[in-house]
Every structure is written in structure tokens, then in C-alpha cells.
Amino acid sequence: MHQDAQLVRSCIAGDLTSQRALYETYKRPLFRLCMRYASSREDAEDFLQDGFIKIYKDLKQYRHEGPLGAWMRKVMVNTILQHFRKQKNLIAQVDVATLSEQYQQDERITSGLDAEILTNYIQQLPAGYRVVFNMYVVEGYPHKEIAKKLGISIGTSKSQLSKAKAMLRTQLKHVFIGERL
């Protein structure tokens, strides 16, 4: 805790070495989070970069009331949500033809759930389903808060979650069967 406080002070002062140290400490868990919200690795890296810039900018507001990692995670999620809010009326990408990977049953799944594979499947969900799924299932936000943050109705939030789960269930059918769920 004391170490975190010292690191935070140095980062606020603009010390690049400290800022790099903070990045190296938290980049992996935050990148995993970004990967779940993004549709591709490069989008995830974009989110990560934007999120860290916001973290450095808002570090003065950190009150040391909880773990630094949890606060950074919250800022990262808010940065990502801001991106999706802006995207509501805009087109997601620039003249790029993207191919969704085949929804295929990967043999590795039968050997147990893998974070990377799970993340890949989540990435293949449509953006709206993906965001709601992450916020509800992984982050634990209630539908009311999801609706408020995304500017959608509670009904839409529930519907998107339901569809996301249905799609994932199809992919993971044999997993659930194997796990007797």
C-alpha cells in the first residue's frame, strides 16, 4: 500500500519511470479486460493505451480508499464504455472488411476452459452483446447501471445479455455437457 502511494505520487508528478513501472505492473490484467471488450487484439491495445492515458490524467482523484488495481480497472472500463457510447452513431471501423472467424468447435475446449479461448469467443460476439456480457457477468454491474452507462434501456440490456449467452452457449455446448451444467 505504501509502495502504491509512493508510485502514485511519482506518477502524478510526471515521472516517466514511475509511469512506466505502473504500466508494467498492471498491464496484463488490464489487457485481459480490454481483450474481452474488444473485437480484436489491436482494438484491445487501443483501449489499453487510451485507458492508461486516462489513468495518468485522473490519478490525482485516487483517494487511496481501495486497491489501486480496482480503481484503475474502473477507469479502464469507463474509458472503454465511453468509446462504445461514441460509437453508437458512428461506424466502427474505417473501410475495413473484417472476417469473423468461423464459429467452430475447437478441440482444446474439451480439455477444459481456457481464458484465451473464452476471450476469443467473447470477442466474436457483436459489440453490443459483448459489452453487456462483460459488464454483467464479469464486472458484476446490475442491468440498471449498465443501461445508465450505455444509454440504453434496461430491457435492451437484458435482451442483449440473453442473446450473448445463447451465442456463447452454442459454442461451448460440449463444454457444458462435459461439465454437466
Binding site: R28, A97, Q102, D106
Partner: protein
């Protein structure tokens, strides 16, 4: 929430947060991420320290204002020609000699005299002679142009026929004109002096003896000739500047109509907040090639001054953007389906997102059944896309005319409201570069109908005007049309389309 759903949620949370699972390095971002963060942090530091230069802006504006507002208008003749101001031998010379009068007129100096005269001596039926009296010194430029008047100056012609030997007649002519002339100061001076000092009618009264030629050489001076006598005002008149012959035709109308058309070349400027190259694994190649199209338009302009026009127009422009992409995608045998014709097919959903719209379609990749490939591999797919854009623009512009050697030229600039009236996208997957997966069978070629967008743009151009006749001239006017608003804006990427039009047309000046 059902138990089953709770379990599923728990399952996801546990496995997604398991840092040890997954292939090595899958949750490590590339080094380029920190490079981008560092660059943005350094850029922010530089921006914060650089505000001091803003203090210089008011200084620049203030200096510029003073420079521009100083009186540098050419053509003002503050000092009349000494020859023309040869002292008259008698007052009659001043009042009667048209040559002198003409000289004064040519020098651009208007003379008016307010004098206290014998009111009762007024004999001009046209003059109201009540109370303070007014008279105009003969020789004044009574009928010439003033600052507020336009040319042509009819005074010399008008005066040419006058009988110089008739001062009264000359004065009679001058007074009504002088009193009706704008810009000439006429003030009244209450008479406190002996009004009987002059017995001649007001308008023919010569200058008082105290008036000397030297006074006439000093415009803009109020000279108390006598303490209780007349005052003389000299008003300065600026001769109207004749426009250079080559600049403008001799039309008296202020309106012009132009029509033009020509080739147009369009492209777009993209700004990307971080210049991190995209991962090669997904997008291998992206090339854009603008294609020549056409534009046409018309405008109407008002001649606001000798060099400046302001106007409004309507234009139509089209441009085509050809793009070539190569994607690398995962290929898995487990997703193949035997088509019964000696080949296996795999379906791919293609989603094309552009700045102007979106299309979804499917393509099918075929693999010959005897071609052995690993269970999982990567293949390359080439896509060719053509996007066409059609804009309607309403520009509001200003034009500045100038002479460059023998060429009549103009510069133009302004703002434009741009409306993207339509955009279409045609794409097709053309080939696979993989050794093993040789054929791409195209199921669907998509055509995109784009969203309509209205944005603010700007125009800047330089043109040459080739006179054809008095009213008609030809123009060659390359113009750059750019966007001030991006047609696409995401946090990291902004797109500003632009076109360069070569406008060839005609301009017609109304009479």
C-alpha cells in the same frame, strides 16, 4: 436468477480471471502500446508549457490594426499645384476664371467659404438669405465629385462653356450645386459684424481682402481671417481611383454569374492519434488509389469593391476511391463442409465497415479435397473495394482580383456546406494467396448505400480570367475543397475528405 445461470456466470468469471491459462503471451500487449503512451505523455507535457506564445497574439492584432488603419490611400492631393494657385489679380479672377476654377477642381480641393455678408444684398432668387448667410467662393469645386460621390466628374465639362466674364452667372450656377452637394461642409456663422461691409450679393462677394493665396494652399485649416469675420473651410476631397484598365471591364453592374466544370480528384486525410501499425496478423495490406472524377457548379457574385467580390454557389462533385486489402484469417478444417464436388467449403461472414456505411455478406472459401492442410492454418484473402462519393456543396466565398503581369488573376476562398448525397461500395474477394487453399468462391458482391452526412468545409483557389468580350470572360480556376468537420470520427481516427477540382468555365457580367 436461475442456478444454472449463476453457475455459468461463475464459470466465466473464474476462468477469465485465471492469469495462468491460455497460450504464453496471449495477454501481453505489444511494445508499441507503451511507445504510444509515452509519446502522448510527452506531447501533453510539451503542450502545457507552450502557452506563453499566446500572449503575443494580442500584440500582433494591435500592431496589424495600426498598420492597416494608417492613411495610406493614394491619390489624395493635399497640396494643390502651386501653378494652379497663382494669386489672382483681382477677386474677379477667382470668381470668373474658369481656368482657375478648373485648376482647383483638378487638384481635388473644394473650397467653400462661409462669410458674413450683407443679408439684404442677396439678389439670387435661389438663395434663402435669412439670418446667417452662406456663400461659396467662386472657384470652388462645386459640382465635382467628393468623397461620398461617384465619378464621372462632370464639372469640367459643365464649366467649360461658361462665360468667364460673368461672375454672377458662375456664382449662380455654383451655389445651388454646392448647397446640394454631399460632403461639403457648410456651416453657418452668426453674423456679429457689420453686415454692410459688403454691398455685393452674397454669392458674388469676393474673398475678403485678408484672404491670401497662401491660405488656399493650406487645406484642412480653419483660418480665422479676421477675428469677427469669415472663416474659411477647406474640405479635402479624394479623387476617385480609376481602376486599372485590365482589372475590370467597364460594366456598371455589380453582379456576375459564373458556370464551370472540370475534372476532380478526391481523396481523404486521416488523422490517427497513435501511429502504431496494425498487427500484420489481421490486415496485411491496405492501399488506396483515388480515381479521377468530375465536378461542376455555378455561382453568383456581387462586386463589393474594385477588387473584391463576394458570392454564393452550388456545386456537385464526385470522386472514387479504390482500395485493396489483404486479410489474413484463421482457417480451420473443423469448420469445413464437403460440397460433394470434390471440395470442402468454409463459410466466412464478412463485415465491411466504412466511414460512410456498412455491409455484411458471406464468402465461401473452397479447398480441393486432395490438398492436405494442417488442422489450423492461416490463409490470405484479397479484397478489392471501390467507394464512390457524390457531394453537393453550397459555398460562400470571397474573391480578390489582381494583376500579375499581363494576367488577370483572382484568389478565392470561403466556407462551404457539404452534403454527401450518396456513396456506394462495391467489393469482391478476388483470390487466396495460400498454397493450400487455392480458390475463393464468391457468394455475394456487396453494394453499400452510405449514410448521408452534412459537414462544413472550406474552399481555396487561384484563378486566371481571360477576357472574351466586355461582359464575358473565361476562367481557369484550380480549387481545393477540404473538410473542417470529419466525416468519420472515432477517438483515435478522424477522416477528412478533400477534392482538387480544375474548374474551367465562363463568367458573365451583367450590365
Amino acid at each position: 436468477m436461475s442456478q444454472r445461470q449463476d453457475d455459468m456466470n461463475k464459470l466465466f468469471r473464474e476462468h477469465l480471471n485465471d492469469a495462468s491459462s491460455g497460450s504464453a503471451g496471449w495477454d501481453h500487449p505489444s511494445d508499441a502500446v507503451w511507445d504510444g503512451i509515452e509519446a502522448r505523455l510527452k506531447a501533453r507535457k510539451r503542450r502545457r508549457g507552450g502557452w506563453y506564445w499566446l500572449l503575443g497574439i494580442p500584440l500582433l492584432v494591435f500592431s496589424g490594426y495600426h498598420l492597416l488603419s494608417s492613411d495610406q490611400t493614394p491619390g489624395i492631393n493635399l497640396q494643390p499645384d502651386p501653378v494652379q494657385l497663382a494669386a489672382p489679380s483681382s477677386p474677379a479672377d477667382i470668381t470668373g476664371k474658369s481656368a482657375d476654377r478648373g485648376a482647383f477642381e483638378e487638384s481635388g480641393i473644394a473650397l467653400s467659404k462661409i462669410d458674413t455678408v450683407d443679408q439684404s444684398a442677396s439678389a439670387d432668387p435661389g438663395e434663402t438669405n435669412q439670418g446667417p448667410d452662406k456663400t461659396t467662393v467662386a472657384g470652388a469645386r462645386a459640382d465635382g465629385p467628393t468623397i461620398s460621390e461617384k465619378r464621372p466628374d462632370k464639372a469640367p465639362e459643365a464649366e467649360a462653356g461658361q462665360d468667364p466674364s460673368s461672375p454672377a452667372r458662375a456664382a449662380q450656377k455654383q451655389l445651388p450645386e454646392a448647397s446640394g452637394r454631399a460632403g461639403v461642409e457648410q456651416t453657418e456663422h452668426a453674423s456679429t459684424t457689420d453686415r454692410t461691409s459688403s454691398t455685393t450679393p452674397a454669392r458674388t462677394e469676393p474673398l475678403s481682402e485678408s484672404t491670401t493665396t497662401s491660405d488656399l494652399r493650406q487645406p484642412l485649416l480653419m483660418i480665422p481671417l479676421e477675428s469677427n469675420q469669415s472663416r474659411m473651410y477647406f474640405s479635402r476631397e479624394i479623387p476617385a481611383m480609376e481602376p486599372p484598365e485590365a482589372l475590370r471591364s467597364q460594366s456598371t453592374s455589380h453582379w456576375t454569374l459564373s458556370a464551370y466544370a472540370g475534372p476532380s480528384w478526391g481523396s481523404r486525410h486521416m488523422t490517427v492519434a497513435n501511429n502504431r501499425p496494425r498487427l500484420a496478423k489481421v490486415l496485411l495490406r491496405q492501399q488506396e488509389e483515388p480515381v479521377l472524377q468530375a465536378s461542376l457548379g455555378t455561382s453568383i457574385a456581387y462586386q463589393a469593391s474594385r477588387r473584391w467580390d463576394i458570392g454564393i454557389g452550388m456545386e456537385y462533385a464526385a470522386f472514387l476511391l479504390r482500395s485493396d486489402y489483404q486479410h489474413q484469417v484463421r482457417y480451420s478444417r473443423s469448420g469445413e463442409v464437403d460440397n460433394g464436388q470434390g471440395a470442402f467449403e468454409s463459410n466466412y461472414r464478412v463485415e465491411i465497415n466504412t466511414s460512410y456505411g456498412r455491409v455484411e455478406t458471406d464468402i465461401v472459401v473452397e479447398r480441393e479435397s486432395d490438398a492436405a492442410i494442417p488442422e489450423h492454418t492461416f490463409i490470405n484473402l484479397d479484397f478489392l473495394m471501390e467507394q464512390s462519393f457524390r457531394y453537393v456543396r453550397i459555398p460562400v466565398f470571397a474573391r480578390y482580383h489582381f494583376q500579375a503581369g499581363k494576367l488577370r488573376m483572382f484568389g478565392s476562398g470561403g466556407l462551404a456546406l457539404q452534403h454527401l448525397s450518396s456513396s456506394t461500395l462495391d467489393f469482391k474477394a478476388i483470390q487466396s494467396m495460400s498454397d493450400k487453399v487455392r480458390r475463393v468462391k464468391q457468394l455475394h458482391s456487396g453494394t453499400l448505400r452510405g449514410t448521408n452526412r452534412t459537414t462544413l468545409g472550406f474552399q481555396v483557389g487561384l484563378g486566371v480570367e481571360i477576357p472574351g468580350s466586355e461582359q464575358l470572360s473565361f476562367i481557369i480556376n484550380p480549387t481545393l475543397n477540404g473538410s473542417l468537420d470529419p466525416v468519420y470520427s472515432r477517438e483515435l481516427i478522424k477522416i477528412f475528405p478533400y477534392t482538387i477540382d480544375l474548374r474551367l468555365g465562363v463568367t458573365y457580367r451583367f450590365r
